[in-house]
Amino acid sequence: MKKFARIASLIMALAMVLTCFVGCTADKEGGATPGEDGLVELKLGCIGPLTGDYANYGTSVQNGVNLAIEEINAAGGVNGFKLTIDFQDSQGDPDSATAAYGKLMDDGMKISLGTVLSGEMTAVSAAAIADEILLLSPSASAKDAITGNDSAFRVCFNDPQQGTVSADYIADNKLATKVAVFYQSDLDYSNGLYENFKAQCAKRGIEIVETTTFTKSTNTDFSTQINAIKASGAELVFIPIYAAEASTFLTQAYGKLTDIPLFGCDGLDGILTKVSDTKYAENVMMLTPFSADDTTENVKKFVDSYKKNFNATPDQFAADGYDAVYAVVEALKKAEITPDNFEDDDFNSKMVAAMTQITVKGVTGTMTWTADGETNKAAKAMIIHDGVASLYTSEK
């Protein structure tokens, strides 16, 4: 029996070694052969939660990415390439995301759209440093998610930016001078936004009259926090939290915080599908660079074809995914990558260098990137009325 086990393990080990080689050879051969349409496949990869608590974010990004890729391929590809996407499900777990990244690299991914969530991106961008592959995350917003990796970029604002921009937006539009904050103290995303919001409020003369928190283990009953906010006389509540907890908060605050607008960031995306009744989300504001009822031509076109394809209104995550693909296209053009040179060793460095030179007119605004991977674009705010989110205008 022992002998059998030893032989079996030997065979297994041998098989593993062999599969490695098979992988390598297939990779080299598959690359530069044009398909029937004369286009060479260029493989993009992305990782995000398609199932689980945060599935709505992953699915939105996936839809946006798919739509952009379809459009580009239908228009004849880019520089002789046909783009393909391999979207891996991580369930929002950083370890699964790292494993998925390894799998994508083994499968011949040339450009990575990173991950959807910040926690995943932190893990993946650290794991990818040695590969020097371009990582362009649509929506990982935590400040540290791309630091330390010179090839990592993002389409969305980072959290500090969101906190800062929120305070600026509130001050610029004179929404309130006294605000309350309700945030999740054991969540990086929420903490990051709060810290920067607080700092910017001090600069802009906004007074924070009440700060209340909750944690993952106390996320079911917010009555005390709501009472405290109500008693504080705040004119606006800043809620830099995710939609799942926000739906609980909104349901319990219904009727208690009437007339006080609630102001959140991209974490609130998808809130209308999370609440049991859309009346709970009345008057909720969301800071976003993307608005589905923006009338700009490219946004309208994107929204229409998204609605046609997925039978849903695109949210900010979908728009981020869509823009990420177009940014990759611009970078491919700028770096003059063609099927003749895309397997050269300097592919990655050319793409990374191109990222800081391009300007992309995306559906989330006109973007440029700095060498640290951050983007510059304008912010807008959406407001929910009668179950519909629309662009906020201060005249209303």
């Binding site: 199932t51 689980g52 608590d53 106390t218 079911t220 009555s223 926090q225 009472n227 739906s247």
Partner: protein, 292 residues
Amino acid sequence: MTTFIQTLIDGLSLGSIYALIALGYTMVYGIAKMLNFAHGDVIMVGAYAVIASVSMASLPPVVGLILSVVICAALGILIEFLAYKPLRKSPSLAVLITAIGVSYLLQNLALLIFGSEQLSFPQVINLPDFAFAGVQIKGVTLATLVITAVIMIALTLFIKTTKLGKAMRASSEDKDAAELMGISVNRTISITFAIGSALAAIAGIFYGASYVYIKPTTGAMPGIKAFTAAVFGGIGSIPGAMLGGIILGIIEKFSQAYISTLWADAIVFGVLVLMLVIKPTGLLGKDIKEKV
């Protein structure tokens, strides 16, 4: 003053849910002498049963509620039969670990069947909310308090006066002697589990009505808090469970309101530790001497 009263009301609301869950914990412990850590997850099953029957299968709310109680009672018997009965003669540690296993099994089954997205609990209990002097009281809160009190009294009477209740107490005191007196200990314990789990279903229904959103992990934290409440009130004591639950809910809400939302849980469990140091049997627990 308004804040004080509102916090008190919120504490009562939370405490009444804890009390309802703690009743099931304490009953099973008192009679079967085991900690059924899966109790919290039976609550989650009860809530999902209502969602499945009312929201998904569009059955009338009353049918959904009854179905939920029946499903949970059956589940209680099944869990006892499959997981705990084979271990009746084993050390209590083995049963405890098995209970934790059952708890995770139920959570993951729910994850498989319903997915991890939170689902909304249907509005099966429609009661008007009250408001006076700036304080809001939810109808559901009052209903939970009343139901918990009624169940507490009914359970006490049931165990004190009925034949089955006597059999339960006898099995609790000495299994072998009870068996010799012609009591079927196995059947008695099965019934105990059925009643305990039916109570969990009721707790699940009121939890859903109060907090609306249900996830596979919904039962875990309230389960632990209710267990704390049961120990606080004196585990095995039925009025103790109710008292413990309500006191715990009030402590939690007051520490959130007047000390810090960050410290609330630490304070709740700190109070438990303090209680166990000062009075190890809990508020209303009986000090039973082990006979040698």
